[in-house]
Structures are given as C-alpha cells and as structure tokens.
C-alpha cells in the first residue's frame, strides 16, 4: 500500500514515514501543498495523510483539488486545529477522516486500516485461494501453516490479494508497493514474485499467483476460472 504524507513539519513527517514504512507501507512525503498536490494527482496512492496548515496551498485546498480531479482516494486530515467547526469544515472539504494532533500512532494505523478496508468486509483480514493475510498482525497463513515473509514480500502479496481477480500490471505494482524514490526497474517484481511463489509452494499454494505474460500478475480465487 502506498501512502502520501503532505506535512511541512519535518519532525512529524519523519516519524510518520519511519513508522508507516515499518508497517510495510510505501511512503512518499511532500513538505508543501503544491508539490503534495502534484504528487497526489500524478501518482496513484492508496491513501493521503494531509496536514491543514502547510505552505503554498493549504491542506483544505489540496483536498478540494483532489476531489475536483475526480479522485476518491481516502484522505486523512492531520491537524492541530481542534474545534468542532474545524473538524466539520475539514470533513466537508472532502476528507474521509480527521485526526487531531497530538495523536496516538496506533490510532492513526487503525484509522488508516479503516480507510483501506474493503467496504463490505467487517474485519481486516484478506484471503484468496486458501491464503489468508492479516494486515493488522502482519501474519500470513497458507491453510493452517504460517508463512514468514519479508516486508516487501508481504506488501506485494497484500496488494495482489487486495486486487484479486484483477490483473495487476507491473507498473501499478511498482506504484503501490514501492515508494517514489524507487528506480522504475520492474524486474525487481519478478524477483519478489519468485520468492513469494517459493514460500507458497512450500505450503502447497504454489499456483496462487499467475503470470499474465507481458502484462503483470493476477491472484485468482480457485473455481473462478
């Protein structure tokens, strides 16, 4: 999952990036509204974390512009403004959620998961073809066997399962699993897919990830052809 943080306070942006990366998110940071808006409109993010008071363009305006461009990406507002009017104003500008500073990091993670959660699913765990992954605990089970994955492997598998029954192109995989500083050499995907297949093979789910030649990869629910 790839996130964009638009926050001018380096201290906050810093620990957010550190903490979220440890949670297997690919994280980009913009330090002002203008570059943040550019990034948000040119790249595909799974979630935005936006501070209200940022230089160049305010967080509210960034939010409005993104909505105006037709994007439905979840936006989390992160700000020291704490009056009721501010909260209402922020949410009305198009934000999906609002967190007041100072906040608990665990709460932020929970709220991010809520935004990423598929609408019609009650809990956070995802599954496909007998493989279940839990983004909260970072556990992966193939049947009853728990697999041990590296953060990147986990992020890749999570992305594929979240988009099961849909072809994930190489460029989209890069966009969602790796951050912006990554050199767009897509051969790295093949390396990680090989690692994943090897680990799934050991748990007898080797053919979960299928290759669509020249396009990308897909995870199919068995029996759906």
């Amino acid at each position: 999952m790839r996130l964009l943080i638009i926050e001018d306070e380096p201290g906050i942006a810093g620990f957010l990036k550190d903490g979220l990366e440890e949670e297997y998110f690919a994280v980009d940071v913009a330090y002002d509204g203008k570059s943040g808006l550019d990034l948000a409109l040119t790249n595909e993010y799974d979630l935005l974390i936006v501070d209200w008071m940022i230089p160049a363009i305010s967080g509210i305006e960034v939010c409005r512009q993104i909505r105006k461009a037709g994007s439905l990406v979840p936006i989390l507002f992160l700000t020291a403004k704490d009056t009721l009017e501010d909260v209402v104003f922020g949410l009305d500008a198009g934000a999906n959620d609002y967190i007041k500073k100072p906040f608990e990091f665990e709460e932020l993670l929970a709220r991010i998961r809520v935004q990423l959660r598929n609408r019609n699913r009650a809990d956070d765990s995802l599954s496909a073809g007998g493989v279940t992954i839990n983004p909260v605990t970072h556990q992966v089970f193939a049947g009853s066997i728990e697999l041990t994955l590296t953060p990147k492997e986990f992020a890749l598998l999570e992305y594929l399962i979240r988009n099961k029954d849909r072809v994930c192109t190489r460029s989209r995989i890069i966009e969602h699993v790796w951050d912006i500083h990554f050199d767009s050499d897509t051969s790295v995907i093949d390396v990680y897919i090989t690692f994943l297949r090897r680990k799934l093979e050991a748990a007898c789910c080797g053919n979960l990830i299928q290759t669509i030649r020249g396009v990308g990869y897909i995870v199919r629910e068995p029996g759906m052809a």
Partner: protein, 496 residues
C-alpha cells in the same frame, strides 16, 4: 405613590413616553390659549355692555339737561321711558330708524333712587322689579347683579347737588342673558374640545414616535441576533443621516471592533494550540514509533536527541508565553534607569554575531554620538535582540543589517534595517499580535513562533518606547525605536 409613578414611567415604552410628554406640553399650551381667549372675549363683551350703559347714561343726563355734579332734584328728569336716542337729531333719517328699532330690542332698565336707596322713579321695562342698589358706591361703578332671576350689567351714577351733597343715584342696567349664554357656550366648547384635541394628539404623536424610533427596533433585533458565531451581522443604516443613523453606524463600528477582537482571540487560540501541539505531537509520535520495535543504539540516540531538541523548542515557547502573560498582567514593572545606548547595542550585536556570521550576514552599527536613554536595560536588550534575530532569520545570506542611532529633540531614534524578505503591507498591522506569522503555514523551518514581536511591543509599551515598522516586500524591513532621551526624564541626574 411617587415610586409607583416613577416605576410606571420607567417601564413605559419610549414611544408612549414621547407621546405622553408631548401631549402634556401641548395640553398645557392649549389650556393657556383657551383661558386667554375666554377671558379676552369676556372682557370685550363686558366692555361693550359698559360702553352701552355709559352712552345711555350720558343720553339720559343730556336729555334732562342734568349734570351729575349739579343735581337739581329728581323732578328735572323727563320721562325716563322715552327713547333718548330718537330725541336727538333727525328721526326721519333712515339710519336712525334702524337704530331705533334695534335699541327697542335691547331692553334697558333705568331706575332713580334717593340717597337712602328708595326708588324715586323707574322705567316701565322694570315692571314691578327693582334694580339692586349699592349704597357704599361713591363714584360711577359697573357691576353684575341678579335681577329677577337673570343677570344684568348695571351702572350706578351718583347724583350730587352743586355743593357736592349726594342726592341720589341714577341706575342703568342692561340684560346679560344672551352674552352669558355665548360665554357659557364658549366655555363648554373649550372644555369639551380640550380632551377631544388631546386624545387624537396623543395617538398621532405616538404613531409618529413609533415611526421615528423604528430604526431602534432594528438595532435591538440585530443585537439580539448577534452571537459569537455570527458577528458579521450589521444594522441596516436608516435613510436619513440623523442621530439614529449615527447611532446605527456607531453600533456597527462597535460590532466591527468586537468582531476583530473575537477574530484575534480565535486566531490566538488556534495559533497557540498549533505551536504547542506540534512539538508535542512530534515528540509523542517519534517516541511511540521508536518503542514499537527493538532498534540499534544509534537509532535510539538520534531519535532521543531529536526529541530533546523539540522539547527545548517547546520549553522556549512556554517561557515566552509565560513572560508575555506576566507582562500583560503588569506583574513586572520596568526598572527605568539611565542607559548608555551604545554599549548595550554593542553587547547585543556581539551576542548575535555568530548566528549572523553563520548565515553570512554583516551587522553594521552606526552611532553618531554617545547617547543615553531612560529605559530598563534588561528589557531594552530583549527588544533589540528580538528585532535583530528576526532580521537575521528573514535575511538572505550575504546581505547586511544596519543599526543607526540618532538624536531627535527629546528622543533617541534607533533604527534596525535589514535587506530581507520584507513584510507585505497588508500584513504589517498584525505583526505585533501574539503568534501572528506572516507565513500562514507557520512553518517551523524558520524557527519563529510569532511571539518575538509581541514581546517587543509589550516591553516597549512598558517603557514608553515607540516601535514603528516600515517594510517593502523583497527589499527589507526597518524597525524604528523612539526612546525617551535620559535628559528629558532625568535632568537632575544628567547634570551631576
């Protein structure tokens, strides 16, 4: 009772009070006018009667050739019932005929009495009645009297013999009946029309009052609707530029100032909360992320160092806030003494030099002469330091900052000019507000909190130092401190 009445007046609405006062005043005037008219009419009527009687008397006397001062006896009177007027002049004259007829209608009564009041002779019109006689009258007198159940106006002329002895009286009277009816009717009309005029007047005045004070109702309605959340309400200005217009515009101006104050307060709270919560959020978040997983020693150290830096920033902020609060509650009073300005400036510049040099900024200090000012040296140092640190913060590298000192009458003017980014003209007015920052995102990269200049202003105010600022965007900013010269405050000390 009086208190009740006062209370009644105090709860009475303005329109009723205006109408009441107006009606009372007008009623008073009308009463005076009516009374005057009544008495004047009465006087005119009586004068006419008196004139008529007088004329009658002189005619009777002339007819009988009698002089009241040389009375020969009652026999000298000719028939007192004769038409005296007709005796005189040409009775065939048309005018006289007319007059005669008219006089016959105006019945008159004539009576002669001797000095003891016995009736000697009387006109036939009197029939069996007798006119009142007042024996104490010496000269000719006019008075009202009751005669046979109706009022008459009568005159009593003493008739004296040649030696001055009173022989009797000639009494002539005319009936007052018609005149009294007219006067009585007049009085009735006045008494009746008085309330009839006053009641519509009250209602009319009240409706005029309601109309004239209707803008006040609008003021009340607007003020009632006003609350902290909709301070942008304004009273619609009346059409006429009168007192109510002034009232409305004055109240509107007051609302404007209130709105400003509320806005400033809101800004202050929002800014203070941002400034205090941001470092708190940084420290809290950093430490939370830090303890989620075991890490390298270096990692721990660098994060803790970072948190300490943030905490220092916060401590500095809290210190400044507390200082401002103390100054604002006037718990700190300046200790004003004679301060030689140059050494003070030198020491501040020396302290700031490392920061300036790190950015490649040159500070020049131009002092033309040795000046001494009346100020609190500690506070003055803080003022200069704050302005200078701002100048360094907002100047680009390899620019220069100039400090100049000059005398001007009783003051010493110290200017601190930089060649920095400047302040937009529309934001100049707010720079002394607590937490105000030209950069609305309140970026921490410049390190400012927006408290420095409000401290400067507060400290300057305490010492009667005037602070003014001039700025051109991208050209630089000049702060001017106008301090009272020591001689103006301490002439004695300076001469020692």
């Amino acid at each position: 009772m009086k208190q009740f009445a006062l209370k009644g007046l105090s709860v009475m609405s303005l329109r009723n009070r205006i109408a009441l006062y107006y009606t009372i005043a007008t009623g008073f005037l009308i009463a005076i006018v009516f009374t005057t008219i009544f008495f004047m009419v009465e006087k005119i009527v009586y004068k006419q009667f008196d004139d008529q009687i007088k004329k009658e008397i002189s005619e009777i006397l002339a007819d009988s050739n009698i002089s009241p001062d040389n009375f020969q006896g009652f026999d000298s009177f000719r028939d007192i019932d004769a038409d005296h007027t007709s005796e005189k002049g040409d009775n065939r004259d048309e005018e006289h005929k007319h007059k005669r007829r008219k006089l016959k209608v105006d019945t008159e009564f004539i009576q002669l009495v001797n000095r003891d009041g016995e009736v000697i002779n009387k006109s036939a019109s009197l029939s069996w009645c007798v006119l009142a006689f007042n024996p104490n009258q010496s000269g000719t007198s006019y008075f009202d009297s009751n005669f046979g159940g109706s009022m008459v106006r009568q005159a009593q002329v003493p008739l004296n013999s040649a030696d001055g002895k009173n022989e009797g009286y000639l009494i002539v009277a005319v009936p007052l009946k018609n005149a009294l009816i007219v006067l009585h009717d007049l009085k009735d009309i006045f008494l009746f029309s008085f309330p009839v005029i006053l009641l519509p007047l009250f209602l009319l005045t009240r409706s005029i009052a309601i109309k004239s004070i209707s803008p006040i109702e609008k003021v009340i309605a607007t003020a009632e609707k006003m609350s902290q959340s909709n301070l942008d309400q304004r009273i619609p200005l009346p059409f006429h530029h009168d007192e109510l217009y002034r009232l409305a515009s004055t109240i509107n101006a007051l609302f404007g100032r209130m709105q400003d104050a509320f806005q400033r307060e809101k800004h202050f709270t929002a800014d203070a909360s941002h400034e205090l919560k941001t470092p708190l959020a940084v420290v809290k978040g950093t430490l939370e992320v830090l303890i989620r997983k075991p890490r390298e020693r270096e990692h721990y150290e660098s994060r803790i160092q970072f948190c300490l830096k943030e905490l220092n920033r916060m401590a500095h902020l809290i210190e400044q806030l507390l200082m401002l609060a103390r100054y604002e509650s006037n718990k700190m009073t300046p200790r004003i003494v004679v301060v030689p300005l140059d050494p003070l400036l030198d020491s501040v510049v020396e302290r700031m030099m490392p920061t300036a040099q790190a950015k490649g900024i040159a500070i020049t200090l131009n002092h033309t002469e040795q000046v001494k000012i009346a100020a609190d040296p500690g506070m003055l140092e803080m003022i200069v330091e704050n302005i200078l640190s701002n100048a360094i913060k907002y100047s680009s590298s390899s620019s220069s900052i100039t400090i100049e000192v000059a005398r001007s009458e009783n003051n010493v003017v110290c200017t601190i000019s930089d060649q920095g980014i400047g302040i937009p003209a529309e934001k100049l007015h707010a720079i002394f507000d607590r937490f105000y920052r030209v950069d609305e995102s309140r970026s921490s990269s410049t390190g400012g909190l927006g408290l420095g200049l409000s401290i400067v202003k507060k400290l300057a105010d305490l010492q009667q130092i005037r602070v003014s600022v001039n700025s051109v965007t991208d050209k630089g900013t000049t702060f001017t401190l106008t301090c009272p010269a020591a001689e103006s405050r301490y002439p004695m000390e300076m001469s020692c």
